[in-house]
């Protein structure tokens, strides 16, 4: 670290929390490859947006990387075969989501050969047009691997349209327990750097800033070495502070830019991609490989041999846990990190692209402290990286005043969990917020539905009124015609009478 850099080293931010990171010993264990499971369950919805549409039939043979289901709609991503084998079924499996609802997945029986299908590598991606890079990235099914799972190519196009200048590469990995990105940067720094340079080319960014938390010295060294030849890629050490890996916080720490509420990062000239996403882009372009596997952390007190695994998409959580071994039955299974991850209903759910970690907690880790009354200590407010007032929001939500909670910033909450983590009264603040947001969304839907119903009713009554008007008009017209006809007839009669009169007179 140069003297200047040391002097201008990012200051310790005022927000956030510093949970015990518990990344070790898992982070230090060597990367292991999960033995290929016999069956893989590839969900059609592993991304934000529309579910993919299957293009294979049960019984069909596929090779690794073959398209299983294609993107459907503007925001969607295809899914590919994680290994070679035969499609067994297309049907429902349990989704990796606390609800435990079913979702559609393609079940694949592995043939054990793990043979790649057609691949179309590009020798020099920088010679390709940006659109072509986006197309290939989309075709490889690359989505944001930091957890957001937003289709990467859609973001490329957005970045190019909004003339993004700086690519921010998120190597923060601020969640405790997780070290998958750390492992990736240590093992595959060159891929990450090449991938991020391809992304820069795809979005037209002039430079890239890679933010890595200070608690990953090996990753920092590896990335520095890999990026040394590239003058436009800077590796920046950021303080280890949760939620440093959140887009807005990382952007502000690295560039000083504050993304306005309701705006996208690209609108202030930056775009954020995760290091794993960049590595996936590298593989998609340089090797023509679809996104079918990822590095993820399996950790937690109940895991016998915690560490990072290279596992195919569609492997069951149970396969992973069987491989690492367990100390008894885990008290809680979590997909993602402990701060923002979601509870898994059971281990019989498939791994998705966005899964950065699977945590199996023992009873001590899973213990939920009893919530007490709020003592207004203000810790939550000071921890909130968004500058919200969690205690006031929670108080309003408890009183059923959702609009007031929105005034205190409910809609700006990023659900990072800092407030609930720090609360000495152990109030499940985030739970209040998600509940309230659910209510608000339901209210909004109901409002829209009501508006739609009202519109329909209005249209109907308008139609009825119009019809009535038309009917009346028609009736009036008919009446007028009748009257006219009558008048005409009367006139004729009168004329006839008049004509007849002289006759009558003439015929006494």
């Amino acid at each position: 670290m140069g003297l200047l850099e040391r002097f201008f080293a990012p200051r310790h931010p005022a927000w956030g929390v510093h949970p015990d990171d518990r990344k070790r010993p898992a982070a230090d264990a060597p990367l292991r490859r999960l033995p290929l499971p016999e069956r893989l369950y590839v969900p059609l919805q592993q991304h934000v947006g529309g579910a993919a549409r299957p293009v294979v039939l049960a019984g069909q043979k596929v090779r690794k990387g073959d398209l299983l289901a294609e993107a459907q709609g503007n925001i969607s991503a295809p899914v590919h075969a994680p290994t070679s084998g035969r499609v067994l079924a297309i049907g429902e499996v349990t989704a990796p989501h606390p609800s435990g609802l079913a979702q559609i997945a393609i079940t694949l029986a592995s043939d054990g050969e793990d043979r790649w299908g057609e691949r179309d590598p590009v020798a020099d991606p920088f010679a390709l047009a940006p659109e072509e890079i986006a197309r290939r990235t989309a075709a490889a099914g690359v989505v944001g691997l930091g957890g957001a799972t937003f289709p990467a190519a859609v973001k490329f196009n957005l970045g190019r349209r909004l003339k993004v200048r700086t690519l921010i590469v998120n190597g923060g990995e601020c969640e405790p327990y997780l070290s998958a990105d750390d492992m990736l940067m240590r093992e595959r720094a060159a891929e990450v750097v090449d991938g991020l340079r391809i992304v820069m080319h795809a979005i037209g960014a002039g430079n890239a800033l890679v933010g890595i938390e200070a608690n990953k010295p090996q990753a920092i060294a590896a990335m520095r070495a890999a990026a040394a030849p590239c003058g436009d890629v800077a590796i920046r050490v950021v303080p280890a502070r949760y939620p440093m890996g959140s887009d807005r916080q990382l952007i502000e720490t690295l560039t000083g830019l504050e993304v306005p509420a309701d705006a996208r990062a690209a609108e202030v000239g930056v775009l954020v991609h995760n290091v794993s996403t960049c590595a996936a882009v590298h593989r998609a372009l340089r090797r023509g490989e679809a996104l079918v596997e990822r590095i993820l952390t399996v950790n937690g007190g109940a895991v016998r041999a915690p560490g990072n695994l290279l596992a195919p998409v569609g492997a069951r959580v149970a396969d992973l846990l069987a491989f690492t071994g367990l100390h008894g039955e885990p008290a809680r299974l979590i997909l993602g990190g402990p701060m923002m991850g979601s509870v898994l209903p059971h281990a019989n759910v498939p791994l998705v692209k966005g899964a950065s970690g699977i945590l199996a907690f023992d009873a001590a880790e899973a213990a939920v402290p009893a919530a007490g009354p709020c003592i207004r200590c203000g810790s939550c407010t000071r921890a909130c990286p968004m500058g919200l007032l969690p205690l006031e929001m929670a108080a309003r939500i408890r009183a059923g005043e959702l609009a007031a909670a929105v005034d205190f910033g409910l809609s700006d909450c990023i659900s990072c969990g800092c407030c609930a983590w720090v609360c000495p009264a152990h109030i499940p603040l985030v739970q209040y917020f998600s509940h309230a947001r659910g209510e608000l969304a339901a209210g909004e839907r109901a409002r829209l539905r009501n508006a739609a119903t009202r519109r329909l009713v209005e249209q109907r009554s308008e139609r009825l009124a119009r019809e009535a008007r038309e009917k009346a008009a028609a009736a009036a017209k008919r009446k007028a015609e009748r009257d006219a006809a009558k008048a005409r007839a009367a006139a004729v009669t009168r004329a006839a009478d008049a004509a007849a009169a002289p006759l009558a007179e003439a015929t006494p």
Binding site: P19, D20, K163, R165, P176, R248, E252, L257, E258, P260, A261, A263, E267, V268, G269, R332, I334, P338, M339, M340, G341, S342, V343, L359, F361, E365, V368, A371, G372, P373, C374, I375, R376, C377, T381, R382, M386, G387, L389, L391, I397, R398, G400, D407, F408, G409, D412, S415, G417, A420, W421, V422, C423, P424, A425, H426, I427, Q431, Y432, H435
Partner: protein, 364 residues
């Protein structure tokens, strides 16, 4: 306590800080312990008896209310807040006050000033200070009857039994013999008699006032330096932040320094203001009460400054020699207003909550 707790599956975060309410409260009590022990030594057995009686009745009041509401008392008593309230109240009482002052005050603090408002976290006013002010207004004589320090072991000091009899109100003669004015009280009465401060403190009967704290006053008043040390401990443990104490002490010290320089015969000096009365106890332990103080840093500075300034005003020009308790209560009432105006700025929005302008869209 969380009646409408949404019935959701366990949600993130799946981790929590090790800190808890009870832990903070017990640390605060621990920070009070040295000053309290010093007070016991200085004022003898009666002080000790009054201390435990006050705390016992504060706990009793809390337990009674919880039982009446049909809730289990033990877990709530375990949060330490009633213990702390009783302790703070005891430290603000005249050490030789009769037992019913402590008992009534303790009950009043937890029943009327806390549970009636809805319990921990719901009270607008600091319970210990509400009780102290209620006692002061209702029973001005015993509440302003201070005693000369009579350290344990001194020949004239009452023993355990005599101490208990004093607390139980059985030895009025002993009390009268030991009566003395506090520094602030002495200053006020002398000024009211038309004696200026230069002469008032020159007479031999004037209360002594030294840094060692050997002087007349409440338990928490005598050992102001030990109280400040306890406050420093809380700062170091990050249980309190510096904003309220610093603002409050500055708001007392600044006008005191100016006015004392202008007219020393009329205004007490900075040292006396800071070390006498409830200044230190107020600054570190009372004004910093989470429940009854603002929860943003800006609001805390304003709140602390308000408590300090009002204390100074009441001491210098008000009807009572000491004003910290009143000042705290007055500022407590303003906390909702302060909280309304001192909101943190939401990330990505301006102070009024509108989204920031999109800047830097084109190269700069």
């Amino acid at each position: 306590m969380n009646p409408a707790s949404p019935a959701l599956p366990i949600a993130a975060p799946h981790a929590a800080t090790g800190a808890g309410v009870a832990r903070s409260m017990l640390w605060v009590c621990a920070a009070l312990a040295p000053a309290t022990l010093f007070g016991f030594w200085l004022y003898g057995w009666p002080a000790l008896h009054l201390w435990w009686i006050t705390i016992a009745f504060a706990l009793l009041g809390e337990a009674l209310c919880l039982r009446l509401m049909g809730r289990a008392a033990l877990p709530v008593l375990g949060d330490g807040s009633a213990l702390l309230t009783g302790w703070l109240l005891a430290l603000s009482l005249p050490p030789w006050a009769p037992w019913w002052i402590g008992a009534g005050g303790g009950l009043f603090a937890t029943v009327i000033a806390k549970q009636v408002f809805g319990g921990l976290g719901q009270n607008l006013f600091n319970p210990a200070m509400v009780a102290r002010v209620a006692l002061l207004i209702s029973f001005p004589v015993p509440m302003t009857l201070w005693t000369v320090p009579l350290p344990l072991g001194a020949t004239a000091a009452p023993g355990f039994i005599d101490g208990l009899r004093i607390t139980l109100g059985g030895l009025p003669a002993a009390l009268d013999a030991m009566a003395s004015a506090s520094v602030l009280g002495h200053a006020k009465t002398e000024l009211a008699r038309g004696v200026d401060l230069l002469h008032a403190f020159a007479v031999p009967s004037a209360p002594t006032f030294g840094l060692d704290g050997v002087r007349a006053g409440s338990l928490g008043e005598a050992a102001s330096l030990l109280i400040a040390a306890g406050g420093a401990l809380l700062l170091a443990l990050r249980i309190i932040s510096w904003h309220i104490p610093a603002a409050m002490l500055a708001a007392i010290a600044l006008p005191a320094a100016i006015l004392h320089a202008v007219d020393p015969a009329r205004y007490l000096d900075v040292g006396t203001h800071l070390l006498a009365g409830g200044t230190m106890l107020g600054a570190f332990f009372i004004a910093t009460d989470y429940v009854t103080s603002p929860n943003t840093r800006g609001g805390q500075l304003l709140f602390g400054a308000g408590v300090g300034a009002l204390s100074f005003v009441i001491r210098s020009w008000g009807g009572y020699p000491e004003g910290v308790a009143f000042a705290v209560l007055l500022m407590n009432a303003l906390v909702p207003v302060i909280d309304r105006y001192f909101k943190p700025r939401i990330h990505g929005r301006d102070r009024r909550g509108r989204p920031l302008d999109i800047a830097g869209g084109d190269g700069s």
